[in-house]
Amino acid sequence: MLADAARGFLDGAAPLTHLRGLRDAGLTHDPALWKNMAAMGWAGILVPETTGGSDMGHAAAGVLAREMGRTLVSCPFLGTAVIAVTALRQVGDARAGSALAQIAAGERLYALALDESAKFNPQAVETRAEKHGNGFRLSGRKRFVVDGAMADRLLVVARTDGGLTLFDLPADRDGIARTPRAVIDSRDVADIRLDGAEATGADVLGKVDDAMAVLAPALRAGQAALAAEMSGLAAGAFAMTLGYLKERRQFSTPIGAFQALQHRAAHLWCEIEITASAILNAGRMLDADPANAAMAVSLAKARATATAQLAVQEGVQMHGGIGMTDAFDMGFFMKRARVAAEWLGDYGYHANIVAQARGF
């Protein structure tokens, strides 16, 4: 139901040509599209009803993410509607409540400023928040901040005396400099420099020295939704490939009659189906038993990463020369798959978490 409605909307409002149009215009984001999504309740899908959301849960958010993956929709859904909302929900004070209401209305965009190295590693934070009067001064560099250029607010993770602390700051605060990056998937990514940016105690999300209490659930939610997006991406790439196998003729026959390609296509379909199970399971676990969902989420992200990469590689190969052209859309799938593979932890990162849970 939700999936059908989402697909119906996205086929009209954000098909593959939408991303291409943005890319050709040098844009990363379409504010009007996000307004429409917010009007349909997508921005507030995880926001409590009391603050203007529909509170439909992570399985439902995964359904939306998956559909967005099919047509490679570029929008702030993951960073704002999933990661930031889940973080804010852990806090539950009045300020968080009003932030949630603004997110649900599509009026506030967030970006998570966490990574400082080229590989996801949420503990490896060197950005410092030094005590300064009643508040803090933040200095350091954040890399690969997704939606970092467009965001109104930043969730900044910084080291304090006794651990890591999460700050919720306006992106235009003095001492914050944002440099947009030109990334292969044509999305909004920025590097951020903090140079003595001031924060008050009220800017702390959750407790000082205890960022992970707020951040860990948010990361899990983001990883699960990203995995769902990747499973949609794999399905979208596969649908194109399957169509081409039936239509392209060589040696007087559709190329899909060649058993070498049939078996590879069938194998890929199996991988997509198996990954779909891991995605559904992660959404279910996040809704039913979030404290114990870590393995399910990592299983989903690991599987989705491997499957999306297989889907795009087979996608290009089975299209032959046309698969390598910019005019053809398969390249967009390949580029997004690579970025999504890295963001929020790659295959190895998540396979390690699964392995630990399984006695390795």
Binding site: G256, Q262, C270, I274, L299, V354, F360
Partner: protein
Amino acid sequence: MPHDDPSGFRAELRDWLAANCPEEMRDGASTEDSICWGGKNWEFSSDAQKIWLDRCAARGLTVPTWPEAYGGAGLERAREKIFHEEMARIGARYPLQSFGIWMLGPALLQFGTPEQKARYLPPIARGEVRWCQGYSEPGAGSDLAGLQTRCEDRGDHWLVNGQKIWTSYADRADWIFALVRTDRDAPKHKGISFVLMDMESEGVSTRPIRLISGASPFCETFFDDVRVPKDQVVGEVNRGWDVAKYLLTHEREMISAGGQVMGAGRALGAVLADSETGQSDPVLRADAMRAEVDGLAVGLTLERYKDRAEAGQGAGDASAMLKYAGTELNKRRLELVIAAGGTDALDWADGRAPTWLRTKGNSIEGGTSEVMLGIIAKRILGLPG
């Protein structure tokens, strides 16, 4: 994750298991020698094995999803899950496993006459009659519909002549369900019938074939002027292919899940932890981690397809996916198990080596991986040719 239990079914079952499952049957064993296959000539490995079978049979728990009228417990999916969870919780062995349960039963429930169901199903449920499967022939393997075993209408009986091969446990089975050709002129799929034969019938003989894994569980099976009563054809005459295909979807699901049944379901992390090399070899570790990730996802997929199926129905064409993925994975897992064991795992007596060798057949029996991929390509993906 525990499932809802509004009616107290779980609690009641738990009490029953506690009171009735003998201690010896709670060792979680699922190796070949721990299995109870049942049948007229079955020699129970212990009193406990017999007691456990009889108690379960009396409650319909050898075939929990079958209707009560035919020896089952009529459990729908939610309760079936609870049943498996509670069995696993105490490490209970399954009381009975058989081709009758996995293959013939579902086919009879779908295609059998009321008389056939009443006659054949309860003895399967009680473990009294053991069945084997006569599909493959020397000239008909992957191209199963090319089978040539003849079955002629002789008025008051059928007369069967021909040969089957790779018939698992034919030398220990009481009855065989077999595919035979009843019309030699029809297109190959349209002249096949599904017949049931007593292995004690005159003219049936078997010759064991030894497997690479040492044991000899399969046979050549010969039919030499075997007379078969008229009421032993399941489904319509010459429409046996429909029955055969339906049965195969259940067989494939069973083989897919077999990885778990055969004890390979143990977390690979635990396997490596127990081994000398497993901890220190980063390549082995990485391979095992990948296999573990894939294994968990395949397991979830099996469950998802069971949840989706109508009561008693299988996954249909998607059983090809389950079989392909499950068996290829099982082979990978056992390669890792044996690699982790190093030279310790290479003795026949060790158990790992025979299991490892046996898994090589998983991707052949019940239709090869290549055949599964072909089914997916054509029936699910609609590719031409």
